[in-house]
Amino acid sequence: MSREDIQTGLAEILEEVAGVTPADATPEKSFTDDLDVDSLSMVEIATAVEDKFGVAIPDDELGNIKTVGDAISFIEKNQG
């Protein structure tokens, strides 16, 4: 799956879980500082990512994912 496709899928998750407008879900955006996504919502996002992309995000990796771009890269690198 291309980075663009991953971004689109991730944007859908962010809209559903955290009410983020899809156009705002761009790679440079910080989840906490720009998109107002709190730590519990990040856990929900991780679960939704696993459902959508088949990529599990371990807890110790979740803390390193600060931006939408970080998440896209993680999914891209770990997709089957």
Binding site: A18, G19, L40, S41, T47
Partner: protein, 413 residues
């Protein structure tokens, strides 16, 4: 009546109930004699002895932002809706009260039961990793108070009394104390409940506490009537804004009524059965009167707890008679709203305040044939039609499993 520095008044009202999506529509429906009770038609109900419920008129999830709603248990959603109405109506937000001087006291009887049970289903079906990270904040019984505190920006303390069906009334009593002790300048108080689900329905039915008049939903909740056979579970929330009279006056707030006093006791008798003579309930009412500096002859109206259970209603009638006498006009509004458990005391206090303000006593629906009990026979229970009258003080009493008794005295503004 003279005003002292510790006089407390009601400046805002809010509710979302089986009769209406806000206070005006709920009150109109109450006076019009409408019932909020219906029969559950879902498949799961068919083996249940008691199949009636008083559902909310308006789905709370459709009234608040979707993302916010999915993080709030239904009991928290309705709490926030009722609280925001009361807060808006009070105008306190525009009065320059600092957040550190705003407090919340919001009770619930059961807490986030729908979340607890719904997430347990997910746990069983899909495993622990699929359980929502919002499970705990959605099920904790202080969750509604916390959600309301966030909604109105209260930083002066957020409290959550839990005393079963007295929780909403207990919240009002705590709020009164907070203001009297000058621990806050404005307190938003209330109660909430939303637990229509097979398990609570089965649990209450197992106690033989619920009406099984399944074929006549609107006639099932019939407090004080000879043919009453239990309560009807309701859902909803109600809220009141309390502040000291001098501050309310200074900011030009609309004052609905005074909260003149409160009393609270424990039966010390049985975990769930009321004392047959309502001894603890009578002591709560007497304590509230003393607190308000009033005598029984001052009280014109009682909004009774009266859930429509065989033993509860007669015990309460005895308590009202022994503590207040036989002159008071009694209303049992659960005959139309059903029993909102932890929200009941708050909703019935809203009704009591409106009754005082409008000088009209709501009717008790379905009271066709009053119980033979001597106290029920002696009391002047308003039935069939609301009654216009002149009165300056009223009592709302609430009782909860566990032997909790709370009485509140309101007087005209």
């Amino acid at each position: 009546m003279s005003t002292s520095a510790t006089d407390v008044v009601v400046t805002g009202l809010g509710a979302t109930t089986p009769l209406g999506a806000d206070v005006p529509s709920t009150w109109d429906a109450l006076l019009a004699g409408r019932s909020g009770v219906s029969r559950i038609t879902d498949d799961w109900i068919k083996d249940f002895p008691a199949q009636l419920v008083a559902r909310l008129v308006a789905d709370p999830a459709e009234q608040i932002d979707r993302v916010r709603a999915r993080r709030l248990d239904r009991s928290q959603q309705v709490a926030v809706i009722a609280a925001e109405e009361a807060w808006r109506e009070s105008g306190a937000a525009d009065a320059g009260v600092v957040p550190e001087r705003i407090a919340v006291v919001f009770g619930t009887g059961i807490g986030g039961a729908l979340t607890l049970l719904g997430q347990d289903d997910i746990l069983e079906e899909k495993g622990p990793k699929r359980v929502s990270p919002f499970t705990i904040p959605m099920l904790m019984p202080n969750g509604p108070a916390a959600a309301v505190g966030l909604a109105i920006g209260a930083k002066g303390g957020v409290h959550a009394p839990v005393s079963a069906c007295a929780s909403g009334a207990e919240a009002i009593r705590w709020g009164l104390d907070l203001l009297r002790f000058d621990r806050a300048d404005v307190v938003l108080v209330g109660g909430t409940e939303a637990c229509v689900h097979p398990l609570p329905m089965a649990g209450f039915a197992a106690m033989r506490a619920m009406s099984t008049r399944n074929d006549e939903p609107e006639r099932a909740s019939r407090p004080f009537d000879k043919a009453r056979d239990g309560f009807v579970l309701g859902e909803g929330a109600a809220a009141l804004v309390l502040e000291r009279a001098d501050a309310a006056k200074a900011r030009g707030a609309r004052v609905h009524a005074r909260l003149a006093g409160a009393g609270g006791t424990a039966d010390g008798y049985d975990l769930v059965a009321p004392h047959p003579e309502g001894e603890g309930a009578a002591r709560a009412i007497s304590a509230a009167l003393r607190d308000a500096g009033l005598t029984p002859s001052d009280i014109g109206h009682v909004n009774a707890h009266a859930t429509s259970t065989p033993v509860g209603d007669t015990a309460e009638a005895a308590a009202i008679r022994s503590s207040l006498g036989e002159h008071v006009l009694v209303s049992a509004t659960k005959s139309q709203t059903g029993h909102l458990l932890g929200a009941a005391g708050a909703l019935e206090s809203v009704f009591t305040v409106l009754a005082l303000r409008e000088q009209i006593v709501p009717a008790t629906a379905n009271l066709d044939d009053p119980d033979d009990n001597a106290a029920v026979q002696a009391l002047d229970i308003v039935r069939h039609e609301p009654r216009r009258t002149s009165f300056s003080a009223a009592v709302n009493d609430s009782f909860g499993f566990g032997g909790h008794n709370i009485a509140l005295v309101f007087t005209t503004a």
